[in-house]
Symmetry: C2
Subunit: 228 residues, 2 copies
């Protein structure tokens, strides 16, 4: 990991959106090699130039399919309405890779009410569709995008990291740390239901208690130090 | 609320279990009039005597159906395997009442993996079965029973309070406070999926990080003071 070319390449599909841009900024600042993808290549490049200026380091931009092909780790930050199309788009490029699914199954107009998809969660649907040779990990659904995009903002929200592959979960806990958040391994991909449902509850709490971006912290002190 | 007879009567169905006993202890200590129910009346009475000694105040014990009839607020703390039977048992007695459903749909042996029931959550199933004139509120699924039963233990876990009736939710937030916990109104009964799923994730986290009773806190500062 001493040469530029050995860096982990992270590609963020739908990376011109608020959440994807925020993650791109934070990971680029932490030294990761980041590409943001968009359906439109010009839009991706324009956004990448803006983000590069903000981050003070290079962030690349390309079409979603090229980004999916280039990434060692592929991150999905698309609206739930585009989730299935995005899975079809990335599938040819992600065999053996870690796919981080950030999708929240919000179904407007009732975004404050939990409406999990039939598979139990969006990330579980991704795992089923992409197949077992793709290591789908669910994370980052509960972070307010505005907080992510503000590099000076200390993020007061932990990250549930769910997936069937322990090593992939551990890698995503490390990526959460690089972006300034505490990740917790929280079980198999089925457990993504927790984080996906939680977003609707937090949107309700934000409205009811007039909070700008409520989050959660996991409490309890580990008896032993964990390295992953 | 100045006379003994005007006190809110709380009946805890399945109240001889660890979670029900812990809630009974804490509410009785806080001045509530508590009855614990069991399928066996002798067992209920024996447990009630023990709990009364521990609490230093009277806790009553009776059969589940009598407890359901006597309570102004009826609390369900039964294993998921007994959930449907319990709903059938209490239904004749709970019209117009608040029913607090604490049921977690754990399906052994895979208790670390989220397996929500077909209705989306156990509490949603309760609301559908009991009908709209019963005010089902979901709460307390994420509190470690051992922490509840230890009256000296400061509970480091917030409570998601979900239900379709705002006044009933507010009443349960107050009851959480009486038991030493911070409750948050978190939306309609559908949102009980959050708390029910979270228990499996916390069980995973307890095992993975060697934590005795992990919990969650909601973060974010309300801009205005809320009284409910």
């Amino acid at each position: 990991m001493t040469t530029e070319s050995a860096k982990t390449r992270i590609s963020i599909i739908g990376g011109t959106g608020a959440l994807g841009s925020g993650l791109a900024l934070r990971w680029a600042k932490a030294g990761c090699q980041v590409t943001i993808g968009s359906r439109d290549s010009e839009r991706a490049v324009v956004a990448a130039v803006e983000l590069s200026e903000k981050a003070g380091v290079m962030i690349a931009g390309s079409k979603n399919n090229e980004a999916a092909e280039a990434g060692d780790i592929v991150v999905l930050t698309v609206p739930f309405g585009n989730h299935q199309d995005t899975l079809e788009l990335v599938k040819p490029y992600v065999a053996g890779k870690i796919v981080i699914d950030v999708t929240v199954p919000l179904m407007p107009p009732k975004v404050r009410t939990v409406q999990l998809p039939e598979a139990g969660s969006a990330a579980k649907a991704s795992q089923l569709f992409l197949g077992e040779d793709v290591r789908v990990v669910s994370a980052f659904q509960n972070i307010a995008a505005t907080h992510l995009a503000d590099l000076d903002h200390h993020i007061d929200c932990d990250v549930f990291v769910c997936g069937n592959d322990p090593a992939a979960r551990a890698a995503v806990v490390e990526l959460a740390k690089k972006a300034g958040m505490k990740g917790w391994q929280a079980g198999r991909i089925d457990n993504s239901a927790v984080a996906e449902a939680l977003t609707s509850a937090l949107i309700f709490i934000n409205a009811h208690y007039k909070i700008d971006g409520a989050g959660i912290r996991v409490t309890g002190t580990p008896l032993a130090t964990e390295t992953h």
